[in-house]
Assembly symmetry: C2
Homo-oligomer: 352 residues x 2
């Protein structure tokens, strides 16, 4: 049995007993009932995920999955394809936004080459980059499938391995992405699985204008009509209109779920990976924490399908895991509420 199937078999729902115990405890805290709202809902989720009323929160890892896309040659992005390689180097040099925000959140960063079109051997040799490279970029989804079915499975297993090897001791995991052109396959995946119109899930990505946006919507439509992905079959969707880093993100989420760790799902590319993960293992949704709502309007349609309400809404549209690391502090805050606040009895405060 392969790593993917093994991982899927380990995924169970959140523990309802720990959820109840967390709720009962939170209701005794010295504050009006549920006065910290969504932080308290989050604390219940973390208790149900970790099977603990005193979960650890200090070790945090964001996995930034990088890959290139054949569809980038169709002029769907504002940036040339070379930027994927350049940004991977920027991540390893510590100069990107996710580096700065991970510093703030005290998170470590694992950068994974899932299929970047460039030679990154030097970085791998120096342990600055993890290689799960499937190949140098997907094929263009406008003329056939992005990848073979075996490659789709290998990309998911790459994400699983990355967690097992580099984040198995993390208390909180985050997803991130880099790949010029990757909002296009993410739109195709989201349109297919959530059964939405391409125009409702296709946005401006890096900042394209109206003319390019119209073209991009056409590209998404063409990819879907050329490939006819089966919305109930995750491997079919991923292989036909996906990307290597999107498969990797699905793997990261599945691994986190199998290890009973909370996983903060980042932007639009990450929710595309989350849709794939949720099709493979519906219970994996129990481990996903929606980090933020991005400017890409398809993002919210993905959150709705996943049954999630994002924590932050700050007009981000960068990816890289930036929203995921920003939200790590909120998980710590929720845990501290659960573990550090006195009850009415302990503090001798009068009840209502």
């Amino acid at each position: 049995m392969g790593l993917l199937n093994e991982t899927l078999l380990k995924i169970e729902p959140q523990d309802t007993d720990y959820r109840h115990r967390a709720r009962n405890h939170l209701e005794q805290l010295t504050m009006p009932h549920w006065a910290l709202g969504r932080l308290m809902d989050l604390a219940i989720d973390i208790a149900g995920i970790t099977r603990s009323l005193t979960p650890a929160h200090e070790k945090r890892t964001v996995l930034v999955m990088a890959g290139d896309h054949g569809v980038a040659s169709e002029g769907v992005s504002k940036y040339p394809k070379e930027v994927t390689v350049q940004m991977v180097k920027n991540f390893t040099a510590g100069g990107a936004a996710v580096n700065a925000l991970a510093q703030q959140a005290k998170a470590s960063i694992v950068i994974v080459d899932m299929g970047v079109d460039g030679d990154l051997d030097e970085l791998v040799k120096n342990n600055q980059l993890v290689s799960c490279k499937i190949r140098r970029g997907t094929s263009s989804i406008t003329s056939g499938p992005a990848m073979k079915k075996e490659e789709a499975i290998r990309s998911i297993e790459g994400g699983i391995s990355a967690v097992l090897l580099h984040a198995a001791d993390a208390d909180i995991i985050g997803t991130g992405d880099m790949g010029i052109g990757n909002t296009t396959p993410s739109s195709a995946i989201t349109a297919c699985i959530t059964e939405s119109r391409p125009e409702d899930v296709t946005g401006r990505g890096t900042g394209i204008d109206d003319r390019v946006l119209k073209h991009k919507i056409g590209v998404v439509k063409k990819a879907l009509s050329v490939n006819s992905p089966d919305k109930n079959n995750a491997i079919d969707v991923l292989s036909k209109v996906g990307g290597f880093e999107i498969g990797g993100i699905a793997g990261v989420i599945l691994a986190a779920a199998s290890l009973q760790k909370p996983v903060l799902v980042d932007g639009f590319i990450s929710t595309a990976g989350a849709l794939i993960a949720a099709l493979l293992a519906p219970d994996a949704k129990d481990y996903m924490i929606a980090a933020h709502n991005s400017v890409e309007h398809g993002h919210m349609l993905a959150w709705k399908w996943l049954g999630k309400k994002p924590l932050l809404d700050l007009d981000l549209r960068l990816g890289e895991g930036t929203g995921a690391v920003l939200a790590m502090n909120l998980i710590e805050a929720a845990i501290r509420i659960m573990t550090e606040v006195s009850t009415f009895d302990e503090a001798e405060v009068s009840k209502a």
Copy 2:
């Protein structure tokens, strides 16, 4: 000249030159244009406030202003008045929600007795509590003014002094409140200054039911009709329908503005203080950062009047400064983006 007037004279608008310089720098960073949205807007504000492109962010202080309210005897809250004293003790013992969240944000807490109806001398003696006590609770706003005009000025000056003595070295300041019954005067202040109907700015506070809410709206209406506060005169509004801790919060904000420090304004009681501060010194608005949007629906009307969009929206309704400390991490994140992310040229990343 008194401390209040001295402080008001020191308040100047944000520095537009630093705002421009921050914007120019942020536009060079290795990411699509403005891809971190509101974090980048926030970075510009912090540059304009601090007159620096490398502002410090490590020292953080939240000032929790506590006071009692004569109107609490009208049955507007779910909790008995004694809870104010009990919660002040809980703060000093480290057992309240704001303590847990301040730990998360690495913020120190200064608790200020602005007018609690209880004997807290022991805590003051032990340096656990700052005393700016005006008197033991305001008079009920349903039968006349909450306080004398001199008391209103002293309450604001108390807040200013608290900052000058206990937070003058802080890089980021936050406001907080404690006072059973204090959503009622906050509703009266907000209705008066924003020219809103009492029913549009009066909420459930600690969690009152429909019957009590109806009564509370009646109390706010009565307070306004009995006192006829002048919406253009901050001292008139504060003295007639305010509270000691609300005056204290206004003072904290004015002091932060005079010291050119960002001040995170917390919940509905804090925005009532912010409205008073903004009437006294419109430029003080330049220093206010809207921490969050609470469940109290009047909160958003106050933010609109202040011209602010809150950073967080997590269904909080606790006060204490909990939302303010939660948002401190976002200020750090914004500053790190401005100071740590490489430019396109530095990282040799291709531009669009």
